[in-house]
């Protein structure tokens, strides 16, 4: 397979030079003449009905242009996850609220000439609440307490997915073969280094343009047009340069407000959050409280599983319940389990809303099920890797829940490779020898995981591409890709370059702009490489065909070409051969333009053909200080079934980054609240991320066995890379301690609490 020239190469990312030099302007760096700064007043209390808002002091402040509250902004409810027209969902959020449902809820906004003035004015707004109501924090209480934040009550949604005969199985399985766990996963902050930002400005003819560092320009446009009653052609949304997202910028709630104010005041308006606001007033990884019951035969065959989950949607519905469905759809795509049920309730709590977050429920559900498997292995005396190997799905096996084909699933190889590279058996023996004594205890953990490649069969999953040759042989690839910092543009250039035999350097890849680029669903659900990449590949194939076709027309008129050779036109190593003569692209394309008067331009729309599963197996060695409860990750092996790495270094970086996020979820990241519902950590001082000294070296290994419908056989890596991490880390800690800790993150106090 080494005949690939650009695919499979670790080509440096486009725009890396500009990023290093600080030349790349992120949305938060943008400014425009006459631009106003829009600052939000977030509630500061967890819950309460606004009785009165007095904005007079704020309005009187020099430099304040206008103050907004629920009284002078659209009341139409929306859901930031509204994504395609007529999508059915609960719409319960408004631009500015008169009923506070979490501390970060948007109560007012000030447009002012400077951000400092706007901030000062926000402090001068006096909000009186009727009374401060009781917070809803505990998920089990929320379920039965009868208290609710919205009309629909709590729980606001229930789901069940099942196959086989779960009740029958559990009825006949002896209790010693049934293994139960209860797991709590934390509300996590995405922690993109660039805080949320957007810029909206009016344009002539009543048009409105919004620059947003988002993941789905067409959905942002749709929500703005719906809320402001504007036809789609009067709203233009441009994907701006973005300092990370991880799902945080996949929902639309700031853009419509900026757009409304820009229209109202006929001035450019920019919102740029601070860290506290990004933590409290955007979205979070949905917290879950899960219960699992697994029946396993004495030989280690997983017989059946029953899962019950409560999803914490936070103060607004957003996609809380959709995350639940996404979790359900993972349970039958990793192991062969003949009887299975997944049931969930989604509840509202007085905390920041859950939303999309790298892995979209997968890290949570895998934490529940993978930690639980270790309990079964321990009880049955079966090696944890062996137990998994006995049950993992083989390539192209059926998803018993009825999901799309899992495709060329190579999780078994991944797990075996990891076992070998990690030295699982030797490490296990060493641990057994040292026993569980002494201050520092080492343990090893493993977890397997699966994730998606787009939306095939569930939601619209298509992508438009425009690709054209310039007359010098360079290429414009016009896509609606949203590069979240992952190098997506480079990946697309590598794919197109491979097809067309053009150096990716010679390919300009445009990001999304609703006025100028073809439609695409958005960059989420791990569909970037697998779906959009495939669309790019197909479009490039069409362009290649067009080039040949037009060259053939041209060949007829080329001097010196023998008649019998005139139709023998082929592309060889980035040059065109006509008969025995070689021509550069530049020569040919210029002549096609001049003589055929034809532009080499292809518009192509591709919809995905499958949704195979991506897989990862992670191995962790952790050392626990049983005095302080601090955990250090000593060794880490990550093996991923990626089909084909388009850019191996980019894949490795995705994995390392995914591990950073996952260790955080396992050990330290949690937006925490006191009993009254006030947040305890609203900056990086208290909300700790894994920093460089806490980050282990990651030994990455890839299983590359091509996936039929992926571009050059590739499948997703961005999300799956973080899916097994928390489970693997927790399993290693539990192994070290001889416990089954299941309340994440495993902070030092929680570990100490479990030990004494």
């Amino acid at each position: 397979m080494s005949d690939l020239k650009y695919v499979g190469k670790s080509i440096p990312f486009k725009y890396a030079d500009q990023k290093i030099a600080g030349d790349l302007k992120y949305v938060s760096d943008l400014s425009m003449p006459g631009m106003l700064h829009l600052k939000l007043l977030t509630a500061g209390i967890p819950r309460g009905k606004v009785k009165e808002i007095d904005t007079t002091r704020a309005e009187a402040l020099d430099g304040v242009k206008k103050v907004y509250t629920f009284k002078n902004t659209p009341r139409r409810p929306f859901n930031g996850y509204y994504w395609y027209r007529d999508q059915e969902m609960i719409k319960d959020e408004v631009l500015l609220t008169d009923y506070v449902r979490h501390v970060g809820d948007r109560v007012a906004a000030v447009a002012a000439e400077s951000s400092e003035t706007a901030e000062r004015a926000c402090e001068l707004i006096e909000v009186e609440y009727e009374k401060q109501e009781k917070p809803i924090l505990d998920l089990e209480e929320a379920l039965v307490g009868g208290d609710a934040l919205h009309e629909k009550g709590n729980p606001f949604a229930e789901r069940e997915f099942a196959y086989g005969d779960v009740d029958g199985l559990f009825a006949k399985t002896p209790s010693e073969l049934i293994f139960s766990d209860k797991m709590e996963t934390p509300k996590v902050h995405h922690a993109a280094m660039e805080n949320h930002a957007c810029l909206a400005y009016p344009e002539p003819q009543g048009k409105l343009t919004v620059i947003s560092p988002c993941q789905l320009i067409f959905s942002v446009r749709l929500i703005i047009s719906t809320l402001l009653d504007l036809p789609l052609n009067r709203v233009r949304v441009i994907k701006g340069n973005m300092g990370g997202s991880f799902g945080a910028k996949q929902e639309t709630f700031l853009e419509p407000l900026a757009a409304f104010v820009a229209r109202d005041l006929n001035r450019p308006v920019k919102i740029f959050f601070n860290r506290r606001e990004s933590i409290l007033a955007t979205r979070t990884r949905s917290k879950i409280l899960g219960k699992v019951k697994t029946a396993v035969s004495p030989e280690g065959k997983i017989l059946g599983r029953d899962i019950d989950v409560i999803v914490d949607a936070g103060g607004y519905t957003s996609n809380g319940d959709i995350v639940s469905a996404a979790m359900a759809k993972k349970i039958s795509r990793l192991y062969r389990i003949e009887h299975q049920r997944y049931h969930s309730y989604s509840v509202h709590t007085t905390t920041p809303p859950g939303g999309p977050c790298r892995g979209y429920g997968s890290p949570q559900i895998h934490a529940l099920t993978e930690v639980n498997l270790d309990r079964a292995a321990a009880a049955l005396g079966i090696d944890r890797v062996e137990l998994r190997l006995k049950n993992l799905l083989h390539p192209h096996e059926k998803d018993l829940l009825g999901g799309p084909d899992i495709g060329n699933a190579r999780i078994i190889e991944a797990l075996e490779k990891g076992r070998e590279e990690f030295n699982w058996t030797r490490k296990k023996k060493a641990n057994q020898k040292s026993g569980r004594s002494g201050r520092y205890r080492r343990g090893i953990g493993v977890a397997c995981a699966t994730h998606v490649n787009g939306y095939y069969n569930v939601y619209p999953d298509f992508s438009g591409i425009n690709i054209r040759f310039y007359e010098d042989g360079s290429i414009l690839l016009n896509t609606s890709i949203h590069d979240l910092g992952t190098g997506a543009r480079t990946i697309m250039a590598q794919i197109a370059g491979e097809v067309l035999e053009v150096d990716p350097e010679q390919i300009t890849v445009l990001e999304g702009d609703t006025d100028r680029s073809p439609y695409d669903v958005g960059c989420h659900a791990s569909r970037g490489t697998y779906v959009i990449g495939k669309a790019v590949q197909q479009a490039a194939v069409k362009l290649r065909e067009l080039l040949l076709e037009e060259t053939k027309k041209l060949a007829k008129n080329l001097p010196g070409v023998k008649p019998e050779e005139k139709l023998e036109v082929v592309i060889e190593e980035g040059r065109i051969r006509i008969g025995s003569d070689h021509y550069s692209y530049q020569e040919i394309i210029s002549r096609i333009q001049l003589e055929n008067q034809q532009e080499l331009n292809v518009n192509y729309s591709y919809h995905s053909q499958a949704n195979p599963a991506s897989y990862g197996a992670h191995f962790v060695q952790a050392e626990v200080d049983t005095f302080t409860g601090l955990v250090e990750v000593k060794d880490y092996v990550a093996v991923h079934d990626v089909g084909q790495a388009i850019n191996p270094l980019a894949v490795k970086t995705q994995i390392d980054g995914g591990v950073q996020m996952g260790i955080g979820m396992a050990l330290m990241e949690e937006i925490d609240f006191d009993q009254k519902g006030y947040p305890l950590n609203t900056n990086f001082h208290d909300y700790h991320l894994i920093n460089a000294p806490a980050m282990p070296e990651i030994r990455v290994f890839l299983i590359e066995d091509k996936e039929p419908h992926g571009p050059y056989g590739a499948k997703s890596i961005g999300e799956i890379s973080t899916v097994p991490v928390a489970a693997a880390v927790v399993n290693a800690v539990n192994d070290a301690l001889g416990k089954f800790l299941t309340t994440l993150p495993l902070t030092p106090p929680r570990i100490i609490d479990a030990l004494y």
């Binding site: 990312f13 290093i20 790349l24 280094m193």
Partner: protein, 156 residues
């Protein structure tokens, strides 16, 4: 208040409110947009610049404190040519993803190499402990800084 300092090898005098933060001065007055703000509390390191040879977070410094200081940002390294080696190895090792933390990382790395020409990986980790990155998992950045140190050229 009038403040004099040397910014990226140029003498500057500004008349400015003394309670302005250095990050705001650099971004707003001098348009040095490499200096990013990620937390405003000295915890993320995105606003790291070098003052008198040392890495500092410019969000926790008032302009009144920089009288007579020598300040470098990534733009200055670009002008002096020093940035080339950072570009070379940060790209080669995949140390740049979204890029928002990158200029701050470069400045922390540059300051480290002032002090320690041949840092080991652990020393590099410590040196960038105050620079958060959510994309890369740091290891590629450490690879890049290691390569830069190996090629040398910095330090007294």
């Amino acid at each position: 208040m009038k403040i004099n300092f040397i910014l990226n090898d140029e003498e500057k005098t500004v008349d400015i409110q003394p309670d302005t933060r250095l990050v705001d001065l650099l971004r707003e007055r001098f348009n040095l947009l490499s200096v990013k703000e990620g937390c405003g509390q000295g915890e993320c390191g995105a606003c790291t610049v070098i003052i008198d040879g040392k890495a500092v977070t410019s969000c926790l410094i008032l302009v009144s404190q920089i009288e007579g200081s020598i300040i470098w940002t990534v733009e200055g390294l670009e002008k002096s040519g020093e940035l080339e080696i950072f570009k070379k190895y940060f790209k080669k090792h995949g140390a740049v993803q979204c890029g928002y933390c990158t200029p701050g990382m470069v400045m922390s790395a540059r300051a480290l190499l002032n002090k320690n020409k041949h840092p080991d990986r652990e020393e590099i980790r410590k040196a960038i402990a105050g620079n958060l990155c959510r994309c890369t998992g740091y290891n590629n950045i450490i690879d890049a800084i290691t390569a830069i140190a190996e090629e040398g050229g910095f330090g007294v």
